[in-house]
Point group: C2
Chain length 336, copies 2
């Protein structure tokens, strides 16, 4: 199995990307790492590291797509960019299983949809971050931003894809699916939700429980939470923002008091644990579900640890056979 | 000035409502408190408290609207409910300036719109919580849930109302207005936002800065953040949920370690300060902007302290003349 990593995506590329990906080689012996990007610069970094040279290849790509570029245009114009070269390699070679990038979210997702193609029956692939539930389990939120405007049928497809992912990757037999809404009652929601609710209820491939308020995202028993990409993005980013706000506010409270500073010394480890638990983005990337192969989007500010985790995660997801299973689901159901 | 309080709204009614409202009497000498609800039960509680009897009146209302009832139906059928009686009193008497309730959000807001009427030119009143920014200032989020589906013109009106509120109540000369979106770039957004953006940009009554991501809600310089009621509700509740999640996770980290427990003893005050800072809902209520008089919605789980703060807040908002100023704005502009 070969795992592609965009060495030139994100704020800390290429150094942190290469370092992190190389670390993953030590933890899992079953894959070949393919670094995509400027060969010379990648080699420069590799020369400072110790690793098994037989398990690393470089796919040269001199261009980089920036976050400022219009995604569709950039994908068309920059044929030699690390994103386009990586996607092309993934598409054309069976031994490549997944592609990870911290680069422009828009370009990466648009490119993946255009170059890899969608699974038949999936009208809109969805971005799916995995969030840490308070009870230690995980919850998949989709769509977290790939589709700003959705139709009810898109949300039903998200629910089916999310169910399959949770079953195969969280090991949950019968994943509980919720619809993100502005209240828990069945009749709550905007027009999109009110139309979607009965369709989720009636679909026998989904264990649909009901509406969920954003405040319960991490404290409920949900394995899968379905939303349009705009609302899902707002829920995800509010969570990120609030965690940062609390940690910052806590820090300034601590700095304002001598006794709190003393207390902090005793609690340092607890704080670090907390930060690690809440920082879902360092655990790996968000999965882009619905295309023909595994796509993993890591945070733009990701560091080595995240890239290491994302590589390991991509291997697990590829091994789980979720893409193959989704193809089966959608072909059986005739959802078009 | 008379301030109406629904003594039978919320989880902790009537005891906490009455206690908190009575406390407000001591901090502000310029108003009469009107408690709405079952006279006998209110008197029972009042008999245990010390206060200036000349400054308290009871308006009897034997019925209560529950959160389970369909709002519009409940408002029509329960003419003797505390919400309907309070709204009617507010509408018909000039010396009553504001009405506060912790009861059914739906019934309270629908009732307020129906009974008080909208300001001419405001097509949809909006629910506006006041959130604590990290720099110690405030940000008004609207709409946080009154209108699940919005049109661009609704959002423009929210921006105008929010601007007026921030100017008069936060003392900000030229309030900065942002549009909640799934990215900061001008071209980000769902169809609603993409249509709304240029309208906000062109409106000379608003100091529109641009799009804001939900993660920056509390860390930016925004005085006003505009959103449709569905997205706004999700942003607000994600924030509430994340704060709770962090505090809970922190607690379990502390409990898991002896040294952290010791640390906690030194930091207890810092934690309590933090909790008080982040718990925006104890500072008062969310303002319902766009009706003919001041409506304040307190959290369903509000306790005495919140009711005290909400009464003091309602007095300030009424004194600020925001309703009168909004009437002027909308009549001048001919926004219909």
């Amino acid at each position: 199995m070969k795992i592609l990593v965009d060495a030139f995506g994100g704020d800390n590329a290429p150094l942190e990307v290469v370092k992190g990906s190389i670390e993953a080689l030590k933890e899992n012996k079953d894959f070949i790492l393919s670094l995509v990007g400027d060969e010379n610069k990648i080699n420069e970094i590799l020369s400072t590291l110790t690793y098994d040279k037989d398990r690393v290849e470089i796919i040269d790509a001199k261009e980089v797509i920036t976050c400022e570029e219009e995604p569709t245009l950039a994908i068309r114009k920059k044929a030699n960019s690390s994103i386009v070269v990586g996607l092309k390699t993934l598409k054309e070679n069976e031994d490549y299983s997944a592609f990870i990038s911290s680069g422009s979210t828009g370009a990466f997702l648009v490119g993946a949809t255009l170059k890899l193609g969608r699974i038949k029956g999936v009208s809109r692939p969805a971005l799916c971050p995995i969030l840490p539930r308070l009870d230690g389990k995980n919850v998949l939120l989709l769509d977290a931003g790939a589709n700003a405007d959705c139709k009810p049928q898109n949300l039903v497809e998200f629910a089916i894809m999310g169910t399959e992912f949770a079953r195969l990757n969280f090991g949950t037999e019968n994943p509980k699916v919720y619809l993100l809404s502005n209240g828990t009652e069945d009749k709550k929601g905007n027009m999109l939700n009110l139309e979607t609710f009965p369709m989720l209820k009636e679909n026998d491939k989904i264990n649909f429980i009901g509406n969920m308020e954003a405040r319960d995202l991490l404290s409920s028993d949900a394995d899968v939470v379905v939303a349009d990409g705009f609302s899902g993005n707002i829920a995800l980013k509010s969570y990120e923002g609030a965690v940062n706000t609390v940690l910052k506010a806590l820090k300034s409270e601590i700095m304002a008091s001598t006794s709190a500073k003393i207390g902090y010394l005793f609690m340092k480890k607890a704080f670090n644990n907390l930060r690690a638990t809440l920082d879902y983005s360092s655990q790996g990337g968000a999965i882009f579900l619905g295309t023909q192969k595994i796509i993993v989007k890591t945070h733009g500010s990701a560091k080595a640890k995240t890239f290491k985790n994302a590589v390991l995660q991509a291997i697990e997801v590829a091994k789980s056979g979720v893409v193959e299973k989704m193809k089966e689901d959608f072909s059986l159901s005739g959802e078009e």
